[in-house]
């Protein structure tokens, strides 16, 4: 899998992991096989990193949290009973770590946005947005991205998470409910509310 492939995948193309092979790797890793665990990390690192990045909007923080997530997951492997997929379980660890981190960061009053490589010039969605529908045509790519990130940061953590998992990463409602340990109705209502909020924040750029 190439870098960012998972992040680019649309909702319909989220691949279900091979459960048997995954469980074999989990068992090996549980016995202390770091090579097996390395393989598990490589399978999910891009999606885990992307989720954390879209929540924090900071590469360094996302890097630290992604590493800590995988270390914590390895240390807690014995408590993994296989009730959900390993992927969902790791996602849950990442989400909890990120939300805790964001709460601490909010208390410290620190927030920084930094910029990752953005290679979307040829994306048809972007072309449509910038050239056809945006009233301020000179806003351009970077400004839209900046405003989008700022608007995301204004959402509460649960709302930002739902938007990240569904609209950015393309996960279905059922999987998000499993990760967030809530029911599907809650996921839907949070998603609706979060979109309304974002729509309001980005009104000048989207209409």
């Amino acid at each position: 899998m190439t870098e960012g492939e998972a992040a680019k995948s649309s909702p319909g193309t989220v691949t279900k992991p091979d459960v048997a092979a995954e469980m074999a790797l989990v068992r090996q890793a549980r016995d202390g096989d770091l090579q097996a665990y390395d393989e598990l990390v490589q399978r999910y690192q891009e999606r885990i990193y992307a989720t954390i990045y879209h929540m924090t909007s900071n590469h360094e923080d996302a890097n630290d949290l992604a590493q800590e997530t995988f270390i914590k997951a390895f240390q807690a492997l014995r408590s993994f009973k296989g009730g959900s997929s390993f992927y969902t379980w790791v996602y849950r660890i990442a989400v909890n770590k990120t939300i805790n981190f964001l709460k601490q960061r909010r208390h410290k009053g620190h927030m920084s946005l930094n910029e990752l490589d953005f290679n979307a010039e040829n994306d048809p969605d972007l072309v449509a947005l910038v050239s056809d529908k945006t009233p301020q045509r000179d806003a351009g790519l970077n400004e839209l991205k900046k405003k989008l990130n700022e608007a995301m940061q204004r959402l509460s953590e649960p709302h930002r998470l739902v938007v990240t998992l569904h609209d950015v990463q393309g996960l279905p409602h059922e999987e998000i409910a499993e990760i967030m340990e809530c029911n599907i109705g809650t996921v839907r209502s949070r998603l609706f509310y979060a979109r309304q909020q974002l729509q309001g924040f980005l009104a000048d750029y989207l209409k």
Binding site: E3, A7, L34, H59, F74, D125, L126, K145, V168
Partner: protein, 162 residues
Amino acid sequence: MQQPEPQFDDLRRALKLKRHEQPPPGYFRSLSSQVITRLRENDVHDRARALDAASWEAPWLTRMLDFFQGRPIYSGALGAAACLLLLGGIFYTSAPGPAPATADMQGLGTPQNLTGVGLAVTGDGSAGANQLGALPPGTTLFDKARPLQSAPVFSSTNLLKK
């Protein structure tokens, strides 16, 4: 079935653009190796912490290990001594020893006989390691304790009389 919400189409298209935000090139090649390196370091640190804890709780052990470290002759001698001790123990336990003196003890099984032994000790005053012979004949330890019985007894009734 998930219903599309047309009022959010533009927003959803804009959010999809975030998928294009990528970390520096080659980042994912190093992430997993960094995780594995940190896990290995944690393992090493855990062992070091266990050694530290052992040296804190049993300093004599670390001193002994330090002493034997770099002294192969002493270590060899200690090992040989331990082996000899073990072999001696095995030899000693497997060799047929003298028959236990159960025949002499058989008569002591009943409580009556045991009380007889007790009386004999206190009676002649010359038996065993208790050295009761040091007491004058006809006296016992209870006789020595008797003066204590005349000590004043404090009770609430005595106090009230005063």
